[in-house]
């Protein structure tokens, strides 16, 4: 069992190299996109917001899934607990990366324009909520809550590794209960603030839930890809079996369906009501070139992953599953593009080179930070109360026999 308690760095020496290369890529990307900042500040901020929301979605989605697993248990969570923790520990960096949005908010959000508000009765009504100081205070509160949750859960997890104190499991459970509630509320209002208020007249009560579902899906897709990569290297190559991928595949399927359910519900209700304020959001998306993006989402954010993930073979085949997971991460980006970009280009579809470069840049920086966090701790939580029952059998006797169905 000694090798199980080695840090990831010792188990997989190439991690350091990957971290360095990703950081260089991120640096180059940042330099290139800074050039974009000089040409078109607004376009830069718009693409940056999209890229940022994807990375934040993976981070917060991992934090939330970790808390869900604390409460629900299950073997699926034991093998990804360490990647979950490492992803959640990228939150301080994500907090810093929010600064460009805070500084650029005047160019992103129409409601910050005093002239516009002065001539708009609805925006005057909303001014109580949509104003610069309150927006920033709220953002500070969200980051405080998220960082606090991530800090305590990770600190206790580290202590659990060292001391094997059983009371820590109980303490993490307690925090996770309230933590999930806090996550649900903060991310709802954060999505209203950062995304929904891009079109300040429009509103939809399901919006927060839609974003939560999207974050869960992004996090699961990322964790699946990470687990496939780790399962080919020690020590997880001795531990991960097809059934683990099967569980993750099922969870991804569930979240794909949830996303489709939320999106369709929102569309059907707004379409059938056909009220001017609400339908306008869909009008400039569906009656212009943006329609193609909508169809892409139906096909590749729902239909394709849904059909593939129904198959039992696909869920147990890491080579195939990792493709689905990466595909899902890409369509998550397209979904955020669909939520954000049409507000800036209402007359027709427009894709900027920054929409490609900035997600790659932020993604590389995020991944480098993730690897850095992963390296410092063992890849398996050997003192998780479930560890023995979930994985102990497998380690002792090899994988359990497969039965058909």
């Amino acid at each position: 069992m000694t090798s199980l308690t080695n840090t990831a760095d010792a188990a997989i020496p190439e991690l350091a190299g990957h971290q360095r290369r990703l950081l260089i890529a991120g640096g180059v990307g940042a330099a290139v996109s800074l050039a974009g900042l000089f040409f078109d500040v607004r376009q830069f901020l718009q693409s940056y917001l999209m890229a940022y929301m994807l990375c934040l979605g993976v981070t917060l989605g991992c934090l939330a899934l970790g808390m869900v697993h604390q409460l629900s248990g299950g073997a699926w969570g034991v093998v990804i607990r360490r990647p979950i923790g490492a992803a959640a520990r990228v939150l301080p960096v994500m907090t810093l990366l929010f600064l460009p949005i805070a500084f650029g908010m005047n160019r992103l959000y129409g409601w910050t324009n005093a002239d516009l508000v002065a001539h708009d009765e609805a925006l005057q009504h909303k001014h109580l909520y949509l104003n610069t100081p309150f927006f920033l205070v709220r953002a500070a509160v969200y980051f405080l809550v998220w960082n606090g949750l991530s800090y305590f859960l990770n600190a206790w997890s580290l202590e659990q590794d060292r001391t094997a104190e059983p009371r820590l499991a109980r303490r993490m459970q307690r925090l996770s209960g309230g933590g999930l509630l806090a996550y649900g509320l903060t991310i709802t209002f954060a999505s209203f603030d950062w995304l929904m208020s891009l079109e300040p007249h429009w509103f939809s009560t399901i919006y927060g839930v839609l974003i939560v579902g999207g974050q869960g899906l992004s996090a699961l897709a990322f964790l699946t890809a990470a687990l496939v990569w780790l399962s080919r290297r020690p020590p997880l190559n001795r531990i991960v079996v097809p059934a683990h991928f099967h569980d993750l595949g099922n969870l991804m399927l569930a979240f794909v369906m949830l996303w489709a359910y939320f999106s369709f519900s929102q569309y059907l209700i707004i379409w059938s009501g056909n009220l001017p304020v609400e339908i306008s959001w869909y009008l400039h998306r569906l009656q212009t070139g943006w329609r193609a993006v909508g169809l892409t989402l139906i096909l590749f954010h729902f239909s394709a992953p849904f059909v593939v993930l129904l198959s039992r073979r696909a869920k147990r085949e890491p080579d195939l599953l990792v493709k689905v997971a990466i595909g899902i991460l890409i369509v998550r980006l397209i979904d955020l593009f669909w939520l954000i970009a049409p507000e800036f280009h209402q007359n027709g579809i427009f894709v900027s080179w920054l929409d490609v470069v900035l997600p790659l840049t932020l993604g590389s920086i995020w991944l480098a930070c993730f690897i850095r966090q992963l390296r410092g701790r063992p890849l398996l939580p050997v003192h998780d109360p479930e560890f023995e029952s979930a994985l102990g059998r497998i380690i002792e006797r090899g994988a359990p026999p497969r039965t058909a169905h």
């Binding site: 299950g74 609805a122 009560t205 209700i269 023995e388 359990p400």
Partner: protein, 463 residues
């Protein structure tokens, strides 16, 4: 699923987080079978059963009287009016359909999620689902005013060349609810077959042997039978899973696709589904707690079950509270005067008492479930479950009546108050529900015998 990574029971985790077992220690295959089948076959019917069944039948008769009078007179005997065309009838319909959701959730989703604690409660939760759907169906059918023409709701080629309006969620309701009833019935019956065979083999009376024998459909318990059975049961679970979501989603569309302020809001589908599961689990607790006390089933329906159900109630209750919060916030945020009026009218309008009672029952009281002391106290859980049942009924009443009674034009505002017949029909369906439940408890095994045996330590072959 067979290739689950999770063991049947998880002793290390259970110890670490100090949860009680799903079945009390000391039981064997024989004692489980004896204890459950004896309720139906051997034990004398308790006097309390006659008293309970008699009372329930009294209210069932009240339902029959109310419906007869309704058919003879017309739905004018109810308090419904213009603008409040939907009132008690639809409130009760949504309430009963919601209660039914726990059955499907427990039987299908918890089965697929490999939650072994579902085993001792799934049978009567499924029965409860069926009875609740039956009670629910009463209301829309009689609300049509001419229930003998209710078959017009079903699309079929006819000489009048008339078709239902397929764009209306009301017609989706017909499909959703009838599919739900069919699949729930099949699921329940298929799950019963091996136990019906046990009753056939153990029954002392010739009549019992014949009836249970016919219902058991020739079950012999061969390996072949079991193989087919497992496959069929899993497939039915898969089929039933989308129904947990679809039925109440369609019910929420009944409201949300309109443009009535207070109804037309995008959070309705997930929030209705969560509310349905919330009320369903509350009803399962309301029934399970007295049943386990009367029939001494504490060994099978353990504190673990009650605690888990309490947790599901807490989670779904929080989702429902989240729904109230976003609804109220967005109503203000929308800057639309009609939207903004809805929450204000609910809070300080003529039905304010119902709104605040609903907040108390659905949001305030269930917060006690955060405390382990509350989750482990049977009487407190029972009281909370009753309060949630009331709260979820009030929620539907508030959504339906307060949204309709004051919409866009103040000149067409109105008020609704229930008549005697509104109340008698509602109470009558509770009577019908309980009568069916009493019959079920008396004549069928209320806990799945063979599934209980699979969670015994004896069943862990090769571990």
């Amino acid at each position: 699923m067979a290739d689950s990574l999770q063991p049947v029971e998880d002793p290390s985790r259970a110890a670490a987080i100090r949860t009680p077992a799903v079945i009390a220690p000391g039981h064997t295959f024989g004692t489980v079978t004896d204890k459950i089948s004896a309720i139906v076959l051997a034990r004398k019917t308790p006097l309390g059963w006659y008293a309970g069944f008699g009372t329930a039948m009294f209210f069932t008769l009240l339902l029959l009287v109310s419906l007869t009078y309704l058919v003879l007179t017309g739905i004018g005997i109810w308090g419904n009016n213009i603008p409040i065309g939907w009132a008690f009838d639809i409130t009760n319909f949504v309430w009963w359909i919601g209660i039914g959701h726990a059955g499907t959730l427990i039987s299908a989703i918890l089965l697929l999620l490999k939650q072994t604690w579902r085993t001792s409660i799934n049978r009567f939760a499924e029965a409860m689902t069926l009875f609740a759907v039956a009670c629910a169906a009463v209301f829309p059918v009689f609300h049509t005013g001419r229930p003998w023409l209710a078959y017009w709701l079903v699309p079929y080629p006819n000489t009048m060349n008339l078709w239902p309006q397929f764009r209306s969620p009301l017609i989706w309701d017909v499909f959703a609810v009838s599919t739900y009833a069919t699949v729930s019935l099949l699921f329940w019956f298929v799950g019963l077959i091996p136990d019906l065979a046990t009753l056939r083999d153990r029954s002392q009376s010739p009549v019992g042997r014949v009836i249970y024998g016919m219902l058991a459909m020739g079950w012999r318990g061969s390996a072949h039978h079991w193989h087919r059975y497992e496959t069929a049961y899993l497939l039915l679970a898969g089929l039933a899973t989308p129904l947990v979501v679809s039925v109440h989603t369609v019910v929420s569309f009944d409201f949300a696709v309109s443009i009535v302020p207070g109804w037309h809001t995008t959070i309705f589908p997930p929030y209705f589904v969560a509310g349905a599961i919330y009320s369903g689990f509350a009803m399962v607790l309301t029934l399970a707690i007295p049943i386990r006390a009367v029939y001494n089933l504490e060994d099978f329906i353990t504190m673990r079950h009650l605690q888990n159900m309490a947790k599901v109630m807490l989670v779904t209750g929080l989702i429902v509270a989240y729904g109230y919060l976003t609804e109220a916030f967005i109503a203000w945020y929308s800057a639309d005067r009609y939207e903004g009026f809805v929450p204000l009218n609910r809070m300080i309008g003529p039905y304010a008492f119902a709104y605040w009672a609903l907040i108390f029952c659905n949001v305030v009281v269930p917060q006690a479930l955060w405390l382990k002391r509350v989750r482990t106290s049977v009487p407190v859980l029972f009281i909370i479950s009753l309060i949630v049942n009331v709260g979820m009924w009030l929620e539907r009443f508030v959504i339906i009546v307060t949204s309709l009674h004051r919409d866009y034009l103040p000149s067409s505002w109105g008020l609704y108050s229930p008549t005697f017949w509104d109340w008698s029909t509602f109470v009558g369906t509770i009577g019908l529900f309980l009568s069916l439940l009493f019959l079920f408890l008396r004549f069928l095994p209320m806990i799945s015998i063979f599934e209980m045996r699979t969670i015994l330590p004896e069943a862990r072959v090769g571990e």
